[in-house]
């Protein structure tokens, strides 16, 4: 039950994009088409799960025994950056179509604050390994959900006559704000 609560809380109530405002750059940047938004979301979920597991191991096996918790930021950034590189190489070797589909987004994920935020939050909430895993999956799917909803709205917007001064970035910000408001409704879910 606890795992389910962590999962739902990460995906909906504390949605990374719409409640914690992490990973805003891909949220605005890669949300023009549902296809690419979904690919980006899945890529982020994938990296989040792996990064969460590895950072948990490093935190509890290296940083805690040496009492180096203060260095978690440096260590996590190091881990995430190298991991993304490794994953990119691996996907390129194993599956060329997947690499072509995700290729552009993978390097973007390296500097995605949602992933670092996830690793730091997991430590902050004192989750154990399984809980961290569920937290990561929930956060990743929540991120995908936010991106896909945003992309869906923006695809529809292409067909709408937006007032001139609202076109482009302005209307995107308005939508993002409205979505964040809508997601506040999930606060009473649990």
């Amino acid at each position: 039950m606890n795992l389910l609560i962590i999962f739902i809380s990460a995906a909906l109530i504390n949605n990374f994009v719409l409640s914690q405002f992490l990973g805003i750059c891909p949220f605005v940047g890669v949300s023009k088409k549902i296809d690419s938004a979904f690919s980006m979301g899945i890529a982020v979920t994938f990296v989040m799960v792996i990064a969460a597991m590895v950072t948990w191991l490093i935190y509890h096996l290296i940083l805690v025994p040496f009492r180096l918790e203060i260095l978690e930021y440096v260590a996590f950034i190091l881990v995430i950056a190298s991991l993304v590189q490794l994953v990119e190489m691996f996907i390129r070797k194993v599956s060329k179509p997947l690499y072509d589909a995700l290729g552009i987004f993978l390097p973007l994920i390296t500097t995605n604050c949602a992933i670092l935020g996830l690793a730091l939050n997991a430590v902050l909430n004192d989750y154990n390994f399984t809980e961290t895993l569920f937290y990561a999956i929930g956060a990743g799917l929540g991120f995908t959900l936010a991106l896909v909803i945003m992309a869906g709205i923006r695809e529809e917007l292409e067909l709408v006559d937006v007032p001139h001064s609202f076109r482009g970035a302005a209307i995107t910000m308005v939508i993002a704000g409205s979505l964040a408001l809508a997601f506040m409704g999930f606060a009473g879910l649990i």
Binding site: V74, L78, S82, Q85, L86, M89
Partner: protein, 289 residues
Amino acid sequence: MDLQSILIAAGSMGGLGLFFAAGLAIANKKLQVEEDPRVTRIMEVIPGANCGGCGFPGCAGFADAVVKGKAKADGCPVGGADVAAKIAAIMGVEISGGERRVARCMCQGGLEEIAYQGEYLGALSCIAATLVSGGKKLCEFGCLGLGDCAAACPFDAIKISANRLPVVDNDKCTGCGKCVDVCPRDLMHLHPISYKVRVLCQNHDPGRYATKVCTRSCIACGLCEKKCPFDAIHVIDNLAVIDYEKCKHCGLCATVCPNQAIEHIRKKKIVKEDAAAAGEKTAVSAAQP
């Protein structure tokens, strides 16, 4: 803070860094994807306009296809002869003289030459005009003059003259074929730049009707066919067609054509046409479509 904790911190961070660096280095070696180096080298010599004129998805697709043997070395219409030679050198093959090709509108029925069926007040696009009524000109085969080819040209090589006909600037034209694809009446043709003689009409109507429709139409009279000493021009389905395998570009057919539907480019005429085109460029903005 004692020295030991500093050392532990530095050591563990350095160790982590080293560990990941080594891991990435090994992974880079192990997971190396063998990519044909020729693809990268071809990418360096082709123009990189991603125009799609070669028929492949972008320049990378073309380079890939060349290396895989699916495309010819002279397949890049934008790069022309020198790029073809460079690609051939990379691939180690000979190319068979790919001559530069330029686009030409196969219609001379401008505002002055053509007869009208009515007024066209729709969107200023040849495709739109084709969809509703075929524009205001009576000829079903002729140029609509609304400039879809000029809009499609990525190199700004096509201008619509004051007479509402596309004029191709041979120096700017790369032969990418975008205008050929976009013309709803298939009037833009790519020809090798050395072709001097062309039948500038596509009207398949019988002579009597073709005369009514346009003063510069091919009326299928067959004078050119009789005049040609090389048996290179024939009237097929009410339209004179040149067989370029036999044509010697002498231009005798052009001299007998009663409607001047056959063009013979001589040096003098090119100069005159260019001057006319330059004058028309300034006039075109004032002209009504």
